[in-house]
């Protein structure tokens, strides 16, 4: 196998794992919030969260580029502390996290809706405080859905292309991921490299979706 192929595969898996870890805490919190709280503008929040699923990924990438670029509202602050995100591995991770987040939130949310409120209430009658109820009852009862959502998000992150190419580019050995690599190699006539990356992508995604489906079904 080509060395650069292995490097791209390892880099992509590492980035997708980092993106999953990054989105997990806020994603779980938002999922719980949407499942348990009624508030003004809830429909708006739901729509905003799901937007990356339907907006062209390239457009999401452009928004990220605008936000994180040196003159963008977030990029300006980051630059003042000497951090440059655009066209770095960090941009890859961020793009993946934003694209994968809706899948985690939607899947985890059904878990919180099923982990019925009554178990939490019963724990409260036993004198247990809200944070302990959340960690010892709510989270364990929803763990399969959270795990399934995280895996689904991870799979989505592995295949991320549109947002990544805009905000991180295709720099060999720095920001080139599986999906971006397939495109770049195919474009430049390196068909065997493209085919190798394609085979790796299919294999990883296949396993991840299989496990994710299994987790959701045995809930």
């Amino acid at each position: 196998m080509f060395d650069d192929i292995r490097e791209i595969a390892v880099f992509t898996i590492a980035c997708a794992a980092a993106a999953t870890a990054l989105m997990l805490p806020p994603g779980v919190a938002i999922a719980w919030w949407l499942a348990r709280r009624n508030f003004r503008g809830k429909a708006l929040v739901e729509t905003l969260i799901s937007l990356p699923l339907v907006v062209p990924p390239v457009a999401t990438g452009l928004v990220l580029l605008w936000l994180l670029g040196r003159r963008g509202p977030v990029g300006r602050i980051l630059e003042s502390v000497g951090v440059d995100v655009v066209f770095t591995p960090a941009a890859v991770v961020l793009a993946m996290a934003v694209m994968a987040m809706p899948l985690l939130v939607r899947t985890a949310r059904t878990g919180f809706e099923q982990a019925t409120r009554r178990y939490e209430q019963l724990a409260e009658t036993l004198g247990v405080g809200p944070w302990r109820v959340f960690t010892t009852v709510t989270l364990p009862l929803a763990r399969r859905s959270i795990l399934a959502g995280a895996l689904l998000g991870f799979s989505r992150a592995l295949g991320e292309f549109g947002a990544t190419i805009v905000v991180a580019g295709s720099i060999p050995g720095r920001t080139r991921t599986l999906a971006v690599g397939i495109y770049t190699f195919a474009e430049t006539g390196q068909d065997s490299r493209a085919a190798a990356l394609l085979a790796i992508s299919v294999a990883i995604a296949f396993v991840a979706v299989l496990v994710s489906n299994r987790l959701s079904r045995s809930e």
């Binding site: 009554r118 178990y119 209430q121 019963l122 724990a123 409260e124 009658t125 036993l126 004198g127 247990v128 405080g129 809200p130 010892t136 009852v137 364990p140 009862l141």
Partner: protein, 223 residues
């Protein structure tokens, strides 16, 4: 926390409206074990849930064992601070925990009910390492009761504690509940639809129908 002399154990008078259902419930008695009797849909479970703090009355006052749990003048003790032991009809054991971890889930508020005492009282020892999924109806009730008592409650709320229990287990569970009532002096408010249960356990019975108290007194007379 003990009831002052002259204060009834149960001193409740509440109004609750929810959807199309309205409940008017009053109870004032020195009896420690009170049975709530009545047809399904009469509001028995709603009374327990209101005492537990899971539903909020529109008006009234709830005082048990000298402690005010709710008063429309501005008191609404949070669920986790009510010091109640609630056993719902379906037991609601935590499905992801073993029997032992269910029983000891709470941090005891008083050291009154030790694990060894509860194991003996409710014959739990052989159940402790098991998963809750394989338990019979009677076993589930015993585990849920132990979980409620372990938390050190000031009052016990039982919803049809004997409904899912077979005949032989029923005799033993009634004996255990009688011990809790007599030896431990814990106020018990429990729902039942069976007259013999009201008579076996209750010192006092309240008959509900469509959200109203239609009779109250000695179980043998009213149930």
């Amino acid at each position: 926390m003990r009831a002052a002399a002259g204060t009834p154990v149960f001193d409740c008078d509440i109004t609750l409206r929810q959807g199309g259902f309205s409940l008017e419930f009053a109870l004032r008695t020195d009896a420690r074990a009170v049975a709530l009797v009545g047809p399904s849909g009469s509001g028995k479970t709603t009374v327990l849930e209101t005492v537990a703090g899971l539903r909020t009355p529109n008006a009234g006052r709830l005082q048990i064992g000298g402690r005010v749990l709710f008063d429309d003048a501005g008191i609404d003790v949070p669920v986790s601070a009510r010091r109640i032991g609630y056993v719902p009809q379906d037991a609601l054991l935590f499905p992801h925990l073993t029997v032992a971890r269910n029983v000891t889930y709470a941090t005891p508020r008083t050291p009154r009910f030790t694990l060894a005492f509860l194991e003996a009282l409710l014959d739990l020892r052989p159940l402790m390492p098991r998963a809750v999924q394989g338990l019979s109806g009677g076993e589930r009730q015993r585990v849920a009761l132990a979980r409620a008592l372990y938390s050190g409650p000031d009052v016990l709320l039982l919803d049809e504690p004997l409904a899912a229990v077979d005949r032989s287990a029923r005799v033993r569970l009634i004996a255990a509940l009688q011990r809790i009532r007599d030896e431990l002096g814990l106020p018990v408010l429990y729902v039942t639809h069976a007259r013999e249960e009201a008579v076996a356990l209750g010192e006092y019975a309240v008959v509900l129908d469509r959200g109203r108290v239609v009779a109250a007194g000695r179980p043998a007379d009213v149930a």
